[in-house]
Amino acid sequence: MQVLLQDAGLKPGEVNLKYVRDITVNPKAKDGKVHEPANALRNDASLAAAACISPDLLTLTAGGKVGTGAEDSVKGARAILTTRTASRVIADVYAVRRDFFDAQKPLVQSFVAAHLAEQKRFQELLANVAKKTQADAGKVAEFKKLSKPLAGIFLQDENAVNDFILWAGVDSEIVGLAGNTEFFTAPNNPVGFNATQTRAVAYYEQTGLVSKAQKLNFAGWDFGSDFGSGLKTKEPEKKTFASAAEVRRAADSKDASKLFSYTFKFPAKMAEIRWQDYRQVFETMHEKVTRYGGAVVQLRGHADNFFYNFVQMKRAKGDTTYQRRIEGSTQFEMLPLPTAEEVANSANKLSYSRAFAVKQAYAQYLRENLGRTQDEMDLSRFDVKGMGISDPVVKSPTTPEEREANMRGELVIIAVEAEVPVGFGADDLK
């Protein structure tokens, strides 16, 4: 919650949080009070939003649209984002007491090994469902049987097997050994174990939730050898979109929702970027790109509109020419005033090139700083957008500083859940 608010530009003191006991409705609770977020939102008009599990979200929003007030939905309620978009904002981590760990390390290791093996099995069963009509029906039935008690635990309803499988396989992600290795051991992982704890501890202290925060220790597993050899510690990244046109369509779709943006400066006349010169920009970018692993990352380039205004102003005065310095000389040459479309085409090309240079530099950052191979990058989520001169910070710039303010890049995180292809849907479980 803290990190979502922070990314949205909010501070803890600016939002009042109401905590509830359960994640969803507990049929065993007999005290008649509200203990879960969905009913809290229904019953308390002072609440602006709720964080809940996806089955509740679908009910509140009338099936993922906009709530009408009927059939347990809340009028006007809509989904802002889910863990399909913010795919690395919540991590489920097992913790044991230190004294227990020290005394029973082989037992804990066996538990982890069994857990990883089950995750692999679960991933295979999910992959079978994703084969849709080609799926092995026997394995689907086996999967449902296995999931029944889990639906009882997580959704308090053993009959909600299909909901549970969708929740586990589409709205969340079982990361397996590769994901655990990445989470616990990858250096500079902005959403990994260390970085997440640092953020969480700072938040607890800032909000006064704990008097003295203490970090958890990593168990120190060697994921390459401690859990057998049949599992992979690295998996290729799946490409979310097949082409630049496809990701653009998703970003432009009517259901796409801009979550937040981050602006950074471009030096004038820059055609290429070295990530080493803008380390902080690329670290911030990497953090957000990773955390919102299901979102479209739109890179926008903005060009300065001075020349466009200059041409329009001169044309309004009746001028037909202008003067520009000859490259490498102190002399000026007289040139005809260009047309609006020529200036716009030039600005569009420049702004697109700037935005694309950021994408190229990010690929270099992943490779050179984080040691990622091409298979370990998913750049298909990047929508590069040349904004031309359509959105200047200073509408009528007349100084070098004002012109520089217009030359900028922007990283926009866009939730496109309806547009991102998913492995399977409810129909595939019937």
Binding site: F307, M313, E342, A344, N348
Partner: protein, 300 residues
Amino acid sequence: MNVMKFFIPLLAALLLAGPATQAQDATADALTREREEQTGTAITILFDNSGSMKGEKLQQAKSAFSAWLKTVPAEYKFSLITFEGKGQLTVPLGEKTRDLIAQRVAKLNANTSTPICGALRVAREQIEKRRREVTPYERHVVLIFTDGQETADPRGENGVRADIAALRAQTVEVVGVGFHGQGDYMNGVATRFALANNEQELMQGLAKVDAEIGGVDDLLVSPEDLAALKRYQAPAVQPISASAAPVTPEAEPVSADTPSQAPPASGKKGFPLNWIIIAVAAWFILRTLSNVGKKAKRNR
């Protein structure tokens, strides 16, 4: 023993450098391809092959187009629209179409009417579709080459002028080239215009098709201009979009010619580093084996 010590680090270096460099090249190449696919220049040629072009005019035009096409970068995308029916899409916009266009132009016959508006409609629809389905970031240039007047659309010249203005409002540069004293009605409404009366003049006119405005810095701004700019209320400009909506305020007619500019040099790829490493390594290995052989001979 010494030889082995030499070999092991060398081979290790080869094994490490090879795949890493290949992966690096593959990522960079994929991004370069994407950038080229998404941007670049697309030229749509409206070629008047009406009956009035028959004879020497058509031969001059074919010769001039053949020479001009050789000067335009091959990585540009081209399309050819001829005047059969209400305008016919003879070659759709696409990669590596320059030579195909040259071949088709060389085989054209002059035997149609002059449906310029119809041909412009075909061009506009194709550009809108391409912006929607492929990329909105290409620079589109439409060349209208004609020796006559609109004969199919009842709006006549006014229709051609209106359709040119509509294309320009969609950030399409429209270049009019009138041939043998015709087509002057495009002057002042097209982005760039040229009149040509022979093959040589036609080649000069075609050189304007790919003209870009170049840098937008280092301008001479007088104090009066600066004062006027401070007072200037910049109009809103819409971002370019795949929906092909107008992205500039309505294009104003302009009679000035813009300066022609040499086409950008095509990007040449350097000699792959992999091959250099392999070549150097192979030379070392051969030399070492040769020395070992010589040493063995001497020892015998």
